[in-house]
């Protein structure tokens, strides 16, 4: 199995290789130009369609409650901080609390996936032990199990373990999301592409399996580890299904859960709601701007996950 966009040799291949169709097709100059113009018009229109709703949420968060629905202009007039103040002080739980909860859960889940994923990824990529292939197929097979099937039994197990009460709900979330087959798969594929000679050199120097793993494989696997970390962080940060099931304590809500609940509770107060929407999107946007290639590379793995 190889991913449609595998990370080979540590450097990301550009996703797009331009095909020279436009150049070699025998079309008159004018035809080419018209087609280009149409293509650009479509591209710009579609790009606007993608970006405008988010820009609108930023703009709305700075409007007053009544302007939010009546004012059709993009620039808030007057600019009001009311929405942000409400989000920070009046919402229950307030925005900083939601932000903290989301960071805590996403951070912990990212950490467990990176640690457990690279350990298992290394074992499946390099170490020989009986039953390896079978166990790996089993790991991949878990991707076929829809989360919804697991809802009822997981709920029963967490309740039996007492993980559905107060702050233990955080532990419940982390336990359920601690390791995904996608993380193991991605890291295994990458570790397999590392030249064996490097590990053998370490072995000759007397390094055992664990030392080789920590000193040689982990540093060389940094790009794949970064990809897994970013994907897991984004996925958990944006997650909705498990939080709705597990985080029943109001104080434990994450940003997406808060957004969904406030929408119901304060339906007509759009500016504070949009402030929460903006705050939930900005951290991922920053990651996206700086690490775009990891998002792109991880899509395939995410797709395999369904």
């Amino acid at each position: 199995m190889t991913l449609p966009t595998p990370m080979q040799g540590g450097t990301a291949r550009p996703v797009v290789a331009t095909t020279p169709v436009a150049d070699v097709a025998r079309v008159g100059d004018r035809g080419v130009r018209t087609r280009r113009l149409v293509a650009y018009a479509l591209l710009i229109a579609y790009a606007l369609l993608m970006i405008v709703p988010f820009a609108w949420s930023v703009s709305t968060s700075f409007k007053t409650n009544s302007d939010a629905v009546r004012q059709l202009t993009f620039m808030p007039n007057p600019v009001s901080l009311e929405g942000w103040q409400t989000a920070f002080n009046e919402l229950d739980p307030a925005l900083p609390r939601l932000f903290f909860n989301s960071t805590l859960i996403a951070g912990a889940v990212t950490l467990t996936n990176v640690v457990l994923g690279s350990m298992a990824g290394y074992a499946f990529a390099r170490l020989r032990f009986p039953g390896r292939e079978l166990l790996f197929i089993m790991v991949l097979g878990t991707m076929m199990i829809p989360d919804q099937l697991r809802l009822v039994p997981i709920y029963q197990i967490l309740r039996t373990l007492g993980l559905l009460q107060d702050q233990k709900q955080f532990l419940g979330m982390i336990l359920v999301l601690a390791i995904s087959a996608g993380s193991i798969f991605l890291l295994r594929q990458y570790f397999m592409s590392i030249p064996r000679a490097l590990e053998e050199a370490a072995k000759i120097d007397g390094a055992g399996f664990y030392t080789t793993f920590v000193r040689v494989v982990l540093p060389l696997g940094a790009p794949a580890i970064a990809a897994v970390a970013i994907l897991q962080f984004q996925g958990t940060w944006n997650g909705f299904f498990w939080p709705t099931i597990i985080l029943q304590e109001r104080a434990n809500w994450t940003l997406p859960l808060g957004i969904a609940q406030f929408q119901d509770l304060y339906a007509t107060r759009w500016p504070p709601l949009m402030a929460v929407v903006v705050m939930s999107t900005v951290p991922i946007l920053i990651l996206y701007v700086f690490f775009q290639r990891y998002f792109v590379e991880g899509i395939a793995a995410a797709g395999v996950k369904g």
Binding site: T18, A22, Y46, R150, F213, F240, P256, Q263, Y288
Partner: protein, 317 residues
Amino acid sequence: MSAVASPKPGRVQQGLRAERRSEAIAGYVLISIPIVLFLVLNIGQIFYALYISFWDWGTRGPREFLGIGNYQSLLSDPIFWKAIQNTLYYAILVVPLQMALGLFLAVIVNQKIRGQTFFRAAFYFPAIASSAAITVLFLFIFAPDGLFNGVREALGLNPFFEFFGFGPNQNWFGDSRTALNMVILLNAWTTSGTMMLFYLSFLQSIPNEIYEAAAIDGAGWWQTFRRITFPLLGPAHFFVATVSVIGALQLFDQALIAGGPGGQPNNALTTIVLFLYRSANAEFDFGFAAAVGIVLFVIIFSVTLVQRRLFGQAPSW
């Protein structure tokens, strides 16, 4: 094993065997935690869910063994059939829409154009936000007094919408005629960028020589697309269709946020998963909910198998 090859295992072989063993032990140690978690929290859950589904199972655990009772009441529940109908309607419309948009964007972005990186990034942008944020954003924009209704009034488009029976203050998510269609639009919008990236990664694997040969034979743009690009993207269609269908059958977040646990208005947004969620989280009928989960699992599994059949063998990955 090595003893068969050499009756007197020397020191070297003993050392080798010891190393083999320590390698295997290291392997088991490194995979132990994930394997235990997968066995308990994933694979074990299928059997546990199956077990629960045969019981009348409330908040305090099993009450009475029902056999296939839950499945029988499930199949005779009109709301369940409504949920199936809604989910199928959604899937049948959203999957081709996602695929077409994704392919269209991929082919355009794959041309020699300026700002290629920017457009690719912009098209993928909605996919990085959470489903909750995007759904609430849409609820706001398509509210009766929201941006969409305001803009169409300002542009003088209201007579056009009137023709289709939509008043100036149409509540797009609150009207049972339009609610599910709005979710289709919303999700086509969100995922078109992801589908584009899938198609792009496959487009890249088509060798340039094929296009060159086609150009020499005088093939135009449309012919090249129809006769070469589209058929050669076979594995991509399979991959995108599978991802898209499986995602569609699991529609939940947007339905819950827009329609609440009741799938308002009038069960227009009650999908299979929302129905499952409602049975468990609102009615605490866990045995019944588990039965819904099993049925959903069977549906998703069969769809995957059927797709594999239809599209021929699975691609190399």
